[in-house]
Structure formats: structure tokens, C-alpha cells
């Protein structure tokens, strides 16, 4: 609903902005070009950059002026390669300078704004006296931590490398996985203040062109102030930002990212963020892990089933307890009746208060553990688990059966490979507990229907969120809550609408051969 409104308004505004920009660019065409004399050029640069302290201006020979940002340029390349080369040779035109420089990214430009902006990306501007063009030599230095194992999405078997905060090293990781000229990489600058580089990846010939266009449009249409993390970008560009359910996967695993690209998905990486966006992503895929591909198929299928049932367990176990004890004592099995009522007999609260209290305690523990330094966090876990758990039962605030249930459902929610989705599952439980406490099973069913309808209404980049179950795509069930052996899953998921549906031509399976 809100989304639609947002879209409509943006459509209305768009043409007017474009028109304004066009006018401006026409009138400023001349002012935007660099002056040819060195002196005027320097003045222009200073005017456009507010003369910051890390701006370096050097005159190398009478006619060559070099300007760059000290903090962004690789010192070694500059001193050992660029400057000696500039001193050694004599250049007639910016074009000849460009061709003789031995630096990968060199360009010639006369637009002031663009050139100045590129200076903030680590470009050295080389100006030849008498020309209104500058040579842009990019020798960026990257300040980034070393590649490390992904902390949020660890897996036992498989690559142990995660993205870090530098776009170029993330790019190189992806290029190392997919050595293919069809892997497209588009760049955008997002954020008026931050000018963050956003890289958009897809494989030509696999990814749906319509989706590529949609996502490209959504990113380039963004008129936002700043962009510091990919999670923020995901919220800006997803289909329904009001939904608690994430519609795009945030992953820090390059192998998962590349697996997605190879299946026809689109990827977005934001400079400065260690999480990459992968879309379209169906609901069920949030519960799949890359590790499933590395394990034998029966084991992988079992783990997937386990994870998926854990979701239901996590969402419904506590509400079921509350509903059964408040309204439906009939359904409690006879053998459970005595222990259950005995443990409840001391508790002074109704089950709903008891359950909410304990769920809140668990959430507090989790939140405290996440905010504290790693070493202290572990201690908090022990303190919370042992002290609060046992003490609460002994003090008669909760029943010990509820402690088991709450701990179990918290545990189950942590099995979700996507942390974002795991959070949603934990939060969705609270309204369900309330509904269970108000109306018992009727309330739970109401909540269940509400969630189900909500999920069915969602889409991820236009593709159905609940695929392959609704709409049913039976071929895709082969790789959904179970994983069939690889020869059976040679097709890409239909909901992604890949241009090329088959990953490869499967050989006919011949049991006699093996």
C-alpha cells in the first residue's frame, strides 16, 4: 500500500528533476570545463574542493601539475611509478600522457565536477599547461581489514572466507569464483553526501533482463542522502519495506553470493559494507545454506527438513503451550497432565504472562550477548542460562516445562542460516503468544492465517516470495526443503526467471555404467 504511494509520488517528481538538471547542465557547460592555464586550474580545484588539508598540489615540471588527496592515494605507486614517469618523459598532449602511463585505470576528462569527484575515489589529476583536459590516474589505496572467515554465516564444510568492507577485494573474490566475461559489473554512485560506490553484479545470458532493468532502475532512481551499509540499501530497493520479512538476502559469503549469481540472481555490493545483497530471494531459500550443496544429498535434505521444522517449532511451540494451558486442557496427553499441572501449580501468573516474561528474558540475553564484547558475551550466556533459568523455576516464577519450551524455540530460531530471517522468526512469536493467550487455538490460527496471507502477498523483485510452493512449481521442489542429488537439479529455479533455464545438459543416468 505504502509502497504504491511511494512509487507514484516518485514517478511524479522524476521528470521535473530531470528537466531541471538538463537546464542546469546546459547553462553550466562552459563553467564545467577546466581552464587551460595552470594557475587558473589550481584555483578551480581549490574552489571546488574547499581546499582541504589533505589535498596535495605539486608542480612536477613547469607544465605538469599533479593534484590528489593524500589520504586516498597509494603512496608507493605514486612515488615509485607515477612521478618518476612524469619526470622522465615529456608529454605533448593529455592523450599521449594517458597512453604512456603504466597504470590500469587512466582516463582523460574535461568535466570539473566529475574529475573532482573521482579525486575522492583515489584518483590523481594530472594537468598539462595549455590544455583544458586532465588525465585521471587511479591509484587508490584501500584501508581494509584482511579477509577473514565469515562470522555470521559460519559453516563447517566449505570455503572459510567472507567479504570484507572493501569493494575491490570483494570484487576480486567474486572474479576468482566466476571467471567469465559474461559476469557484468555496473557501478552506481548513491548518496548525495557519501557518494558511495554501489556495484551491481549479474551474469548476462542467465539473469532475467527485466529484473536487471528493474533493479538498475531502482538503484539509479534512489535520491537519498547517505548510504553506509548494504542492509539500508536493501530496505530502500526491496518490494515492500513495511514487511518484517526480508525480501533480499544479505550474505557475507562470496560462495553463496556467486551461487546466487550462477542461478540467475542479481547481486549488489556496497562499498564499505561486508554484506552483499542477493535478490530475488524466495522465503524458503532463507533456510537453505550453501553447505547443503557440499554435503551428501540425504544428509543435506535431512538438515533442511530439520531447519524448516525448527521454524515452525520456534514460532508455534510457546503459543501452543499458552493456548493449551489457558483454554484447551483437553488436548494435553494424559501422561503429560500430571507433570505439567504440578510444575504450573506454584506459578502465580497466568500462562501468557509467564511465557512473555521468559521469552523476554531470552531476548534480553541474546541482545546482551550481541552487544557485549565476545569474551563477556559468553559469560552472559552462562549467567543467563544457569542463574536465571534455574532461579526462576526455584522462585516459582515459571514452570520448568516452559523453560524447556522457550529454550528449545530460541535454539530452533538460531538454526536459520540467515540472521535477518532468524530475527523475524523470533519477533513474530510475540504477537502469536498474545493471540494464544487471548483466544487460544483460534488466536493461533488467526495469526497463522495472517502470516500466511502476508507471505503470499510478498514478492522479491517481482518474483513470488512463497515460490516454489505458491505458485506451485513442482520442478523446483527438487531443491527446496529437500535437496535431490545434483543430476536432478540441473535446472535453475523458475521463480528467478533465468534466460537460460538449464545449468547444463544432463547426461542420462545409467545405473549399469556405475
Amino acid at each position: 500500500m505504502f509502497k504504491k504511494r511511494f512509487n507514484r509520488s516518485s514517478k511524479r517528481e522524476k521528470p521535473s528533476i530531470d528537466a531541471n538538471e538538463n537546464k542546469k547542465s546546459e547553462s553550466n557547460q562552459k563553467e564545467n570545463v577546466f581552464p587551460s592555464s595552470s594557475k587558473d586550474y589550481l584555483q578551480t580545484i581549490k574552489d571546488h574542493t574547499n581546499n582541504p588539508s589533505d589535498l596535495v598540489v605539486k608542480t612536477i615540471s613547469p607544465n605538469i601539475t599533479v593534484t590528489y588527496m593524500n589520504s586516498l592515494v597509494d603512496d608507493r605507486t605514486l612515488k615509485e611509478q607515477l612521478i618518476p614517469e612524469l619526470i622522465r618523459h615529456k608529454f605533448e598532449t593529455p592523450e599521449s600522457l594517458k597512453s604512456s602511463l603504466f597504470i590500469p585505470e587512466v582516463d582523460v576528462d574535461d568535466q570539473i565536477n566529475h574529475s573532482v569527484l573521482s579525486m575522492y575515489n583515489g584518483t590523481v589529476l594530472i594537468h598539462l599547461d595549455g590544455f583544458s583536459q586532465v588525465v585521471l590516474a587511479k591509484i587508490t589505496t584501500t584501508v581494509s581489514r584482511a579477509l577473514a572467515a565469515p562470522e555470521n554465516e559460519s559453516q563447517v564444510i566449505g570455503a572459510q572466507v567472507g567479504f570484507n568492507e572493501s569493494l575491490s577485494s570483494n570484487e576480486s573474490l567474486i572474479r576468482r569464483y566466476i571467471k567469465n566475461p559474461e559476469l557484468c559489473n555496473e557501478r552506481f554512485n548513491v548518496g548525495k553526501q557519501t557518494n558511495t560506490t554501489v556495484a551491481f553484479f549479474y551474469i548476462k545470458g542467465i539473469a532475467s533482463e527485466q529484473m536487471v532493468n528493474t533493479l538498475r532502475q531502482r538503484i539509479s532512481d534512489l535520491k537519498i542522502d547517505s548510504l553506509l551499509d548494504s542492509a539500508v540499501l536493501a530496505e530502500y530497493i526491496d518490494d515492500n519495506s513495511l514487511s518484517p520479512f526480508p525480501q533480499m538476502l544479505l550474505t557475507e559469503r562470496p560462495d553463496r553470493f556467486c551461487d546466487g549469481l550462477l542461478n540467475g540472481k542479481l547481486g549488489v555490493i556496497v562499498d564499505g559494507s561486508s554484506m552483499a545483497i542477493l535478490c530475488p530471494h524466495a522465503f524458503i531459500e532463507f533456510f537453505q545454506s550453501r553447505e547443503d550443496q557440499n554435503l551428501r544429498w540425504p544428509i543435506a535434505s535431512f538438515l533442511r527438513l530439520l531447519r524448516f521444522s525448527a521454524v515452525f517449532l520456534s514460532i508455534y511451540l510457546t503459543p501452543l503451550y499458552v493456548a493449551a494451558l489457558t483454554f484447551h486442557y483437553e488436548i494435553i496427553p494424559q501422561s503429560l497432565l500430571v507433570p505439567l499441572s504440578e510444575s504450573r501449580a506454584l506459578v502465580p501468573f497466568p500462562p501468557i504472562i509467564e511465557a512473555l516474561l521468559l521469552e523476554l528474558i531470552i531476548e534480553l540475553l541474546r541482545e546482551a550477548g550481541a552487544r557485549l564484547p565476545t569474551k563477556v558475551g559468553q559469560t552472559i550466556g552462562i549467567v543467563g542460562g544457569i542463574v536465571i533459568g534455574t532461579a526462576a523455576v526455584q522462585a516459582g516464577i515459571t514452570s520448568n516445562i516452559l523453560i524447556i519450551i522457550v529454550a528449545l524455540s530460541a535454539l530452533a530460531s538460531f538454526t536459520t542460516p540467515s540472521y535477518m530471517m532468524g530475527n523475524v522468526i523470533r519477533v513474530v512469536r510475540f504477537p502469536l503468544i498474545l493471540l494464544a493467550g487471548f483466544w487460544g487455538f483460534y488466536g493461533i490460527m488467526l495469526g497463522f492465517c495472517f502470516i500466511l496471507i502476508h507471505l503470499i502477498r510478498q514478492s522479491s523483485l517481482g518474483s513470488p516470495y512463497t515460490a516454489p510452493f505458491y505458485p506451485p512449481r513442482f520442478m523446483d521442489w527438487r531443491d527446496s526443503i529437500i535437496r535431490l542429488p545434483l543430476p536432478f537439479t540441473y535446472k535453475r529455479q523458475k521463480s528467478v526467471r533465468p534466460q537460460n533455464e538449464e545449468k547444463y545438459q544432463p547426461e542420462p543416468i545409467n545405473p549399469e555404467k556405475s
Binding site: E330, Q334, F438
Partner: protein
Amino acid sequence: MKFIKVMFIFIFLLITIAGCAEQKLLEQVGLTTLLGYDLGENEKLSTTAVIRQVNPEFQSNVEIVSAENETARGSRAEINRKTSKKIMSGQMRVVLFGEELAEDGIAHHIDTLSKNSDTSGSIIVAVVEGETKSLLEYQFQEIDDIGTHIYKLLEQNIKNEQMISSSLHEVAHDYYSLGRDIAIPIIKRDKEHVEISGVALFDKGKMVGKLSTEESFYVKLSRDLYDSAMFEITIPKEALPESQTKNSPEKIPVVIDTINTKKQVKLINPQTPEFDMHITVNGRMLEIGANMDLDNPKNVKKLEEEIGKSIAKNLERVLVYCQDVNSDAFGLGEYYRSSVRHSNLTHEKWHELYSTAKVNIKVDFTILRSGIFE
């Protein structure tokens, strides 16, 4: 705007009707596990309830409360006045009827129990020899919770197919369906135990006869199908070849474990009426009171024949008794009704026919296995 409106209505409803559902907190209800009905004084109904109480001080105990009133609901209200917790019947597992009440008629109670949405259809119904009140109020030394004990006793025997299944659902079905009468277990107190002593036969809602536990096997054989029940049967010594029956008693006991049974009933003459009942039993022999050479196929054949005859004989005896008391526990009426068109069968009409019905019983018995020797 629509979204906000919907959310507003939803939250409004959530808040306003949050407390509307009737709460039945587990620790605040007294759970009736067993209910016994007896015929009281002056046409009144005497109700005895076994109520499970859970108190933090003395873990869990069982309270037995009885009351007399005209109606079941009335006595429930009366029982409620005698306990500290609200009486609920959702966890009820067994309903017992005193013998006197059963003879007077239980139709009304079956109707009431079926109508109550609180009680489940899987409640087991049984008759008590004598009064239920005295059975329930007796202080058994080794039985802690009489309600659960009787439930487990009956359930276990029904599951092992030693007794006719008598869940409320089935009893109500038998009661309301034309051409099949109720048959439910009878229990009694035997010193410090509760035991199943037989089967009560009903004509519509009134108890009219009793069968022993041994005979109940034949009722079940012709009523339902067997998968796993064990039964004992005797065959006369003379029937078997003499060489095989040295040093054995006059009547040789044989214990059979049924593996499966098949039943075919055909109406061959609607006037009399006359039925052909063909029962096929496959069984495993567990015990035999004679040193028979069962490796010899001839002996086995003979034995099978004799067992079949013996079953048929006993079945006929039970059937004659049922006809005598006019209780169609075999469900022959259903076959009649489904075979004769436009019969316009009524209960009275069928029972008239039933008392004169002739049934040709044929039992084929096959021994599939007779044990392993090493």
C-alpha cells in the same frame, strides 16, 4: 489509508475482545477422569466422579465425589459445590454404568454424552457389576488413581483385541444405527483388583444379557475383524487320530494367536431370514495340550478342521444365546438392511425377524506357523 483502517480495526478488536474467551486455566480446573452413573433412590441419578486434584503441597491426588440429582448436569453442579476447583469433563476417559442402571436403560446418557462437545468420542464406556459407587470408593491398596487405572485396564485390553472396543463413538453408532446392538465390557472388583469380567449385551438401550470373557471373543470375531488377538479353545480328544493324543486330557486345549480374519455374511433367504456366515481365520499356534506331530501335513489338516469346527460350534452357541436375549450384537441386521430393498426396517420389526433368524456358520481355520524348534 485502507491499510491504516484495517490495522486500526484489527487492533481495536484485539484490545476490546481480548478477554472474551472463557479461560480454563489448567491449575484452576478439577479434571474429571472417570464418571460413574448409578440408579439412585426415587428414580434419581447417582453420579460418582473421580477428580484429579493437583496441589502444590501434596503433589497430586484423586478425589472421589458423588451426588444425587435428577439429571447428569444437575449432579455436576452439585459436585461442583463440593470441590474447590471448577469441574471440567474435557479430560474424561471412562464412563461407567451400574448394572441396575444399565438394565434400566442408558440411551439417555449416551445421547447426553454424545451431545456434549467437551467430551471426546474416544471415551470408553463400560458396565460395572453391582454399583459403580462402591467400586470407585473402595480403597484399593495398590491402585493410586482409580480413574486412570480403569482407563488403562480397558484401553490395554481393547488395543490387544482381548475385548470389544467400546468407545463412545462406536457405542453411539451402534445405538443409532439400525440392525446392530451395543456390546460393551463389564468390569468388577475382585478383591484388590479391578477385572474385566465379561460383555454386556444390549437391546437398544437396555442391558439384556451377559457373556463371559471367553465368549466375548466370538462376539468380536463376528462383529469386527481381528489382527492380533490370542484365544484359547478346546477340541475333543476323539476328533484327532489316536496315535497323536497319548497322555492327553479329554478336551485338548489349544492356544491360537490370530493373524488375520476375514468375514463374509450373505443373506440367502430374506423370509426366514437365513444367513450364510463364512469366517476365515489365519492363525499361529502357540500351545497345544497334546504331543502332536505337526510336521505331518495330515495331522495339521485334521487339527485345522477340528479347530474350525470348534470355533463354529462355540459361535453358534453364543449366537443362540444372543437371539434368546434378543440382542443383535453380531450386526446381522445391517446385512439384512443392505441386502433387502425397501425393507422399511424398524427396530421392532428387525428384532422380530432376528429371533427366528437362522445362521449357517462355516469357519475356515489355517495354521500358518506352529512354532520353531531347534
